[in-house]
């Protein structure tokens, strides 16, 4: 029935459909705003019912946020953490995709390496981080490498499934018409893997930023994780929440302004679902 409704707008006079499409664009945004506002109110209510230093209300958190933003600390630590997230994400996606596609394409290789994948999937993040710092020292490369190693097995598993769904007829067409290696990757392989890349990215970024915080807590002297550790020792819950929410907001903007537009562009050839 909804399908009929959206089709109907196409036949309506232009002014009508314009107004209606504006309304349909606004309704989801409004819903999100109202929903977040309700959560804040609930939080505020709870904080005033149980007043405690360990449970500050939204107003207090907001004030800490403004203070940290004013003295520049907030943006510095957000920036550092974001840089680590980006670096670990890129390393994990590239290495994980290459390994995943290889395992998905060659069954014998997959049979041999599958136990390794399962092993790495189940090594706790904390162990990888601690070993990384012990073996490679308390440095940036060890930190980013440890995060990437935590994420790579997930990417491998997703991309392996993707490689198994590759349609051989496109590869045969490319062979007959003598596509170059780069053209094959860009026009045959990546577009077919796009849904799997998107899935690995989506689950990847949120996992990575959580692990980056642990890495920062254990062995770095800046970043959101370091700040949270600092305020944990000071028992300053308002500051912990301020940093957490600020970074969540950053990730939300990345999702809205980067991930979704890229995905829309990559799937422009698909017919819009009715």
């Amino acid at each position: 029935m909804t399908a009929l409704g959206t089709d109907g707008t196409r036949d309506a006079p232009p002014s009508m459909s314009g107004r209606r499409s504006l309304a349909t664009a606004l309704v989801p945004a409004l819903t999100v705003a109202v929903s977040l506002l309700a959560l804040c109110l609930l939080w505020n209510l709870a904080a005033s019912v149980w007043p405690s230093r360990a449970f500050p209300g939204p107003a207090q958190v907001w004030q800490v946020l403004l203070r940290e933003a004013a003295n520049g600390d907030l943006f510095y630590h957000l920036g550092v953490t974001l840089g680590r997230v980006a670096a670990a994400y890129i390393v994990a996606m590239i290495i994980g995709s290459v390994i995943g596609v290889l395992l998905g394409s060659y069954r014998r290789v997959d049979r041999f390496f599958n136990p390794w994948v399962i092993l790495f999937l189940n090594i706790p993040a904390l162990v990888v981080i601690v070993l990384g710092y012990i073996w490679f020292g308390l440095n940036e490369a060890a930190a980013i490498g440890a995060v990437a190693v935590n994420k790579i097995p997930n990417v491998v598993v997703t991309m392996r499934e993707g490689a198994r769904t590759l349609d051989p007829s496109y590869a045969e067409m490319a062979t007959v018409y003598r596509f170059g290696r780069l053209d094959r990757i860009r026009h045959i392989l990546l577009p077919q893997l796009q849904p799997y890349l998107a899935a690995a990215s989506r689950s990847g970024i949120s996992l990575i930023w959580k692990i980056v915080l642990v890495v920062e807590l254990l062995g770095r002297s800046n970043g959101v994780g370091f700040q949270i550790h600092l305020y944990f020792q000071l028992f300053d819950v308002a500051a912990i929440l301020a940093y957490t929410l600020a970074f969540v907001a950053v990730m939300l903007f990345i999702e809205l302004l980067l991930v979704q537009p890229v995905e829309r562009h990559a799937t422009r050839w698909r017919r819009r679902p009715a």
Partner: protein, 246 residues
């Protein structure tokens, strides 16, 4: 127009092609299959369904290397091969024009394709994605891709299957138009006798499994003279020579 460059004919001499099933049973698909297509000639491989026509084509396209025997592709000129597959096999994530251009070698990527798109009736559809095309139009795009590469030899694998007869007939005429503009050595696989008689200079009739050549039927009459009267004469003489082939 002059046929471009090709001087060596298409020569096929496949001794044997065997498939091994998962249970270890081997099936001989092709045995002593040999034929020749002269340069600049349009030939059809005619045979019943499942008789190994597509297998033969896959060997010639270099997609199946597990066989004994040899073949020789026309040399000279571009040395390129082109294929129109049973399915259009267009990349769904690229537009019609990008699909055609991607198949071209780097030096020809920017060439003018207006004439080809016009002839095939695709002029207004260059920026559409394959999902927005009907099957008939997608097949035209696949033809455009094959002809755009100016190949030394063209392989077609039942390119008009699963179209309604009217659309298929239109496409056959379009194929003849673009082919006549630049006669290329071509080998088409089909199980449709009428189609073969209408399009080809020579029909290579195949026997069922293990496939070998039953005989060759040459159609020497120019295509523009093959009206319905002539076609039924051709059909009769074909049936006279190959009474078992339908």
């Amino acid at each position: 127009m002059q046929p471009v460059g090709a001087v060596v004919p298409l020569k096929v001499d496949i001794a044997e092609k065997t498939f091994r099933s998962a249970r270890g049973v081997s099936i001989t698909a092709l045995q002593d299959l040999s034929f020749e297509v002269r340069q600049g000639e349009f030939a059809c491989l005619l045979g019943p369904s499942g008789c190994g026509k597509t297998t033969t084509l896959r060997i010639l396209l270099g997609l199946d290397k597990d066989f004994s025997g040899s073949f020789q592709l026309p040399q000279g000129g571009s040395n390129r091969i082109a294929a129109v597959f049973q399915e259009p096999t267009l990349l769904p994530w690229r537009t019609v024009e990008q699909n055609v251009r991607l198949a071209l070698p780097k030096s020809l990527r920017a060439k003018n394709l207006d004439g080809l798109f016009d002839t095939l009736g695709l002029a207004g559809m260059r920026s559409l994605y394959p999902a927005e095309l009907s099957l008939g139009l997608a097949r035209r795009a696949a033809l455009a891709r094959a002809f755009a590469t100016e190949p030394a030899v063209l392989f077609l694998d039942e390119p008009f299957v699963s179209l309604d007869e009217q659309t298929a007939e239109r496409l056959r005429h379009l194929l003849l138009t673009v082919w006549s503009a630049r006669p290329t050595t071509a080998l088409m696989v089909t199980h449709n006798l009428r189609e073969a008689l209408m399009l080809s200079d020579r029909i290579i009739v195949l026997a069922p499994r293990p496939t070998h050549v039953l005989g060759v039927f040459d159609v020497r009459l120019p295509r523009q003279h093959r009206n319905s009267q002539v076609m039924s004469d051709l059909l009769r003489s074909f049936h006279h020579r190959f009474p078992d082939v339908t």
